[in-house]
Amino acid sequence: MPDHRVGTPEEWQAEREALLKEEKELTHRGDELTKKRQELPWVPVEKDYRFETSDGEKSLADLFDGRSQLLIYHFMFGPPYEAGCPVCSSIADSIAPQVPHLGARDTTALFSSRGPLEKLLAYRDRMGWEIDWVSTIGSGFHRDLGFFHTEEELGPFLESGEIPATVEQNAEMCGTDAAGYVAEGPGLSVYALDDGTVYRTYVTTARGLEGPAMAYYGLLDRTPKGRNEPPDEPLWVRRHDEYDAA
């Protein structure tokens, strides 16, 4: 017998139906939140952010590529990184296959990082992602959204002596140190283009990325073991081509 409680199909069915009622309520509350997101006011983006892309230098408005909506994933790949953040890479695994479907919904999706374009594109080739990736010219674009931190800001965290094992592990996997790694932050920012003006409509980070961009959590949340992430162990996530080596 397994450690887990075993039931008859009838017992399972009764409990499953009770849970379904709550799952539906959660789905409907999610629908309401989506509506509220759409009701957020739009903020005109007044700064002229510039990006280096495989088609030359571009503005934020250029990045829409003829569509009216733009989703940017702020991918942690700073100038000292030798490879992209493993967790951002798992997020990218979720985003890249969506590009044709999102494109059909008037939405361009791409990645933005502070690292040099040639490193980003070489890493993209290794990972097999078919999505545009741009390198910011200057740090303002990530900085203004809170996805780039200065050494001064990070000082207390870095000197606390309490750097989580996950941070140490990921820094090493990126070929940098903790300071280099956490200078970058992950996030998703969303824009609308209307009459030639770019508006910022939505920004999210941290666990706010789980819903849209970490598809494996949606699946794990329905498995018997769930996420199975003990607090005393570093995160299990690896790059998709590195699990066998881990």
């Binding site: 989506t34 979720s94 479907h101 949606g218 199975n228 998709h240």
Partner: protein, 241 residues
């Protein structure tokens, strides 16, 4: 000026923080439901099921591929579900399946195997899989009652009278519907732990996660009104802005 409300950054911050509180409450309710899912009793699977796979005939236990957890996506394909001759696979299931290859290495790295099953024979599944560029394991379940028993395929009698789908009685059910069933393997015994159907599958469609944060949202009359296979958006353009 756009038709939408425009604000200063400070005004947006206030509205965004208020929404963030609601998003966090929603996420914690989701965490609570994930915990409750894990508390459901497990039901031993006593019937024998067989599947045709790329490596020959397999039992349900063999589909785990040595891992302890198994997710099976009920993919609508063949036997009463055929869109047309060129496009035998369900369009919505194809959109769901576009999300699999990106997550499979991560799931496999965390003790979970994900496979798709369809009633159609492998010879029919293979060309479509190749066309779509998919790598995930796709097995044929037509040799036993698996798809029927886990609530994703319906007999002609059920289609004429009534059937249970998504844990309720429905009339006029289609021959097949979408769903995901989950199993645990312990001490050689397979247990059914969870199944989800209908909008329960949306959580596996990352595309909706992105559209739900985009300014226009899902922008659809009904879920299926814009879906295309990923290689068909150009040829079957139904632009709506």
């Amino acid at each position: 000026m756009p038709e939408h409300a425009v604000a200063t950054n400070e005004e947006w911050q206030v509205a965004r923080k208020e929404l963030l509180d609601a998003e966090k409450a929603h996420m914690r309710s989701g965490d609570d439901l994930a915990r409750r899912r894990r508390e459901l009793p497990w039901v031993p699977v006593e019937k024998e099921y067989v599947f045709e796979t790329d490596r020959g005939t397999s039992t349900l236990a063999e589909l785990f591929e040595g891992r302890s957890q198994l997710l099976v996506y009920h993919f609508m394909f063949g036997f009463g579900y055929r869109v047309d001759e060129e496009n035998p696979g369900c369009t919505g299931c194809s959109l769901v399946a576009d999300h699999f290859d990106g997550v499979i290495p991560h799931l496999n790295g965390h003790a979970v195997t994900l496979v798709a099953e369809s009633l159609a024979p492998l010879e029919e599944l293979r060309p479509y899989k190749q066309r779509m560029g998919w790598r995930f394991p796709w097995v044929s379940s037509g040799g036993s009652d698996f798809k029927h028993d886990f609530g994703a395929a319906f007999t002609e009698e059920q289609q004429r009278s009534h059937a249970e789908y998504n844990f309720r009685e429905v009339t006029g059910i289609e021959p097949q519907r979408e769903g995901m069933s989950v199993f645990a393997l312990q001490d050689g015994v397979v247990h059914h732990t969870y199944s989800t159907y209908d909008r329960g599958v949306e959580r596996f469609m990352g595309t909706y996660g992105y559209l739900d944060v985009a300014p226009l949202g899902r922008n659809e009359e009904g879920p299926a009104d814009w879906w295309q296979r990923h290689d068909e958006y150009e040829t079957r353009k139904k632009e709506r802005r």
